[in-house]
């Protein structure tokens, strides 16, 4: 296995414009995630876990430190390539790391399930015949093939979220980041989404990063990272992290 995501002294603070003191969200995070891992990132509100997700997808750029995605270096200035290649490099990373967000309603674009799943591949300029294949495969992978031609607003929360996952899978990413994707769902919807994650990890070998604040969901992962106040507090297997007196080595605290 190889390092897929590696951060070196990664820090980020939100800058509220002129004069305001920047609000630190992440400070000095060093973490390595291997290809094919199933990692849960735990933390309470405002701990910086969502910021971490946004950095991985270059929605935000680090204020300090570096981030390596499969060897590609990302620093405060963006991807470390000549400026004219910057956009392509950014898209290359976004293609490899898919994102599923919290609110299922705010990430579906099209008026029909299969067209929404096709949105990503269409953006990548993939030939039509291949898009067709990918859309069918992706919908089958999340068990939504029966809803191909349904309008998104007729689906339940869990179903919408699975469609969003299919939209990411159709882009054939190496890694999918779930940014609190279960937070707005009812228990059965949450179960649907978590089962989908497990399946994708075991069967397709996709690296899964599940950002959540549900302990029972985190316990299903192979590895749990606990973020508190912008830095990593615990990092280990669920058994280690959830031990009463901290079987996992506390870091940085």
């Amino acid at each position: 296995m190889s390092d897929f995501i590696r951060t070196e002294h990664l820090s980020f603070s939100y800058d509220d414009g002129e004069g305001a003191t920047p609000i630190p969200a992440l400070s000095d995070v060093n973490v390595t995630i291997q290809k094919g891992e199933y990692v849960a990132v735990l933390g309470h509100n405002g701990s910086g876990k969502s910021t971490f997700a946004k950095l991985l997808n270059l929605i935000l750029l680090p204020t300090e430190g570096k981030l390596f995605i499969d060897g590609t270096e990302v620093g405060p200035e963006g991807v470390a390539v000549p400026p004219e290649l910057e956009e392509d490099a950014t898209f290359a990373i976004r293609k490899r790391i898919g994102m599923v967000f919290q609110n299922p309603d705010n990430q579906l674009v099209a008026t029909m399930v299969e067209e929404d799943v096709a949105f990503g591949p269409e953006n990548l300029g993939i030939p039509q015949a291949e898009i067709r294949v990918r859309v069918d495969e992706a919908l089958a992978a999340v068990g939504m093939e029966a809803y191909k031609e349904t309008a998104p607003h007729r689906l339940s929360g869990g179903q919408k979220q699975r469609v969003a996952v299919a939209g990411v899978i159709a882009m054939k990413p190496d890694c999918i980041v779930f940014d609190e994707s279960t937070a707005m769902l009812d228990p059965s919807g949450r179960r649907e989404v978590v089962l989908t994650m497990e399946k994708l990890n075991r069967e397709e070998g996709i690296t899964i990063l599940h950002i959540t604040h549900y302990m029972e969901e985190a316990a299903k992962a192979d590895r749990v990272i606990v973020i508190n106040d912008g830095s990593i507090l615990l990092d280990g297997t669920p058994a280690e992290v959830f031990q009463p007196r901290g079987g996992a080595a506390p870091r940085g605290a």
Binding site: N57, I59, E87, F91, R94, K95, G98, M99, F101, N103, D105, N106, Q107, L108, V109, A110, T111, M112, E114, E115, A118, F119, G120, P121, E122, N123, L124, G125, I126, P127, Q128, I131, R132, V135, A151, P152, H153, R154, G167, V168, M171
Partner: protein, 283 residues
């Protein structure tokens, strides 16, 4: 969940439903041109027959078509009155009198015929566009078809693709925002808001606490959606491929050809068919 159907799309699998939406838009335009250029009574008869034929093959229940015409009543009455009273004829008027000893009110037979033909024209126009577009074509494929028809405008640097994307997103979010409006109204009612009593002004004012949260949440949604789209590698229309492409089958071309022939027939009819004597000076 509330069942929201946008427009009046009626699901069926008639010839009209299966027709390529671009052909439908073009045919509708041809028919509209025909309706507006018809000056002969024969042409009106021909176009009426054509629209009735379309209605028959569309499989749309007559009840539904009539329902869509109902809101037109006011327009029809208004145009009929104007046409009936404002048209001057050559012969004797039906009646003629002075209103307030100043305004002459008179009605000629030509006025009545003209009013009838104008009403017929408006009715056919609405029914025909409904049959071609709103009843038999989903809003999604209509947007797609418009985008493709207007594609040549991209050479004039008009961002047709972006407009189509906006339309699609708007269509996608109408049900979502309606649900949200419902939710906000319930929340406000639960806190004692009253939307259904008081003067009109009071009732309009009562809507403010609904509209403001709705706007705030729409902006939040827009930001989130933009992020999600960026994450899915969206960067405008350039270099995009499509899951669905529209392909005109021979039957589609045939339909368009028939529509063009019908339009030509209207022009020929205008020019060469003899008019009944009572039509002189009407149109």
């Amino acid at each position: 969940m509330r069942d929201v159907t946008l427009g009046q799309y009626f699901h069926a699998s008639s010839l009209l439903h299966r027709l390529d939406p671009r052909i439908k838009i073009l045919s509708a335009i041809l028919l509209i041109v025909g309706l507006f250029s018809a000056t002969s009574l024969w042409c009106y008869a021909f176009l009426t027959a054509l629209v009735l034929l379309l209605a028959a093959i569309s499989g749309i229940p007559l009840r539904m078509i009539l329902k869509s015409v109902r809101p037109l009543c006011f327009v029809l009455v208004f145009t009929s009155l104007i046409a009936a009273f404002m048209t001057k004829g050559d012969g004797d008027p039906f009646f003629s009198f002075l209103l307030f000893s100043r305004l002459r009110i008179e009605m000629y037979p030509e006025g009545l015929i003209r009013a009838a033909l104008l009403s017929l024209r408006i009715l056919l126009l609405v029914i025909a566009t409904g049959l071609f577009l709103t009843y038999t074509t989903t809003p999604t494929s209509l947007t797609d078809a418009l985008e493709r028809l207007l594609h040549p405008l991209t050479y004039l640097k008009i961002p047709v693709y972006d407009f189509a994307m906006m339309m699609t997103i708007a269509l996608r979010f109408v049900p979502t925002l309606m649900e949200e409006t419902d939710r906000i109204m319930c929340a406000q009612k639960a806190r004692g808001a009253d939307f259904s009593s008081g003067s009109l002004f009071r009732r309009i004012r009562a809507l403010v606490p609904i509209i403001i949260p709705l706007f705030v949440s729409s902006f939040r949604r827009a930001v989130e959606l933009a992020t999600a789209m960026e994450c899915r590698c969206y960067r405008g229309g350039a270099g995009r491929t499509r899951l669905r492409t529209m392909r005109c089958r021979p039957a589609d071309w045939l339909f368009l050809a028939v529509a063009a022939v019908c339009l030509a027939a209207v022009f020929v009819g205008n020019a060469y068919l003899p008019e009944p004597s009572f039509m002189r000076g009407v149109l």
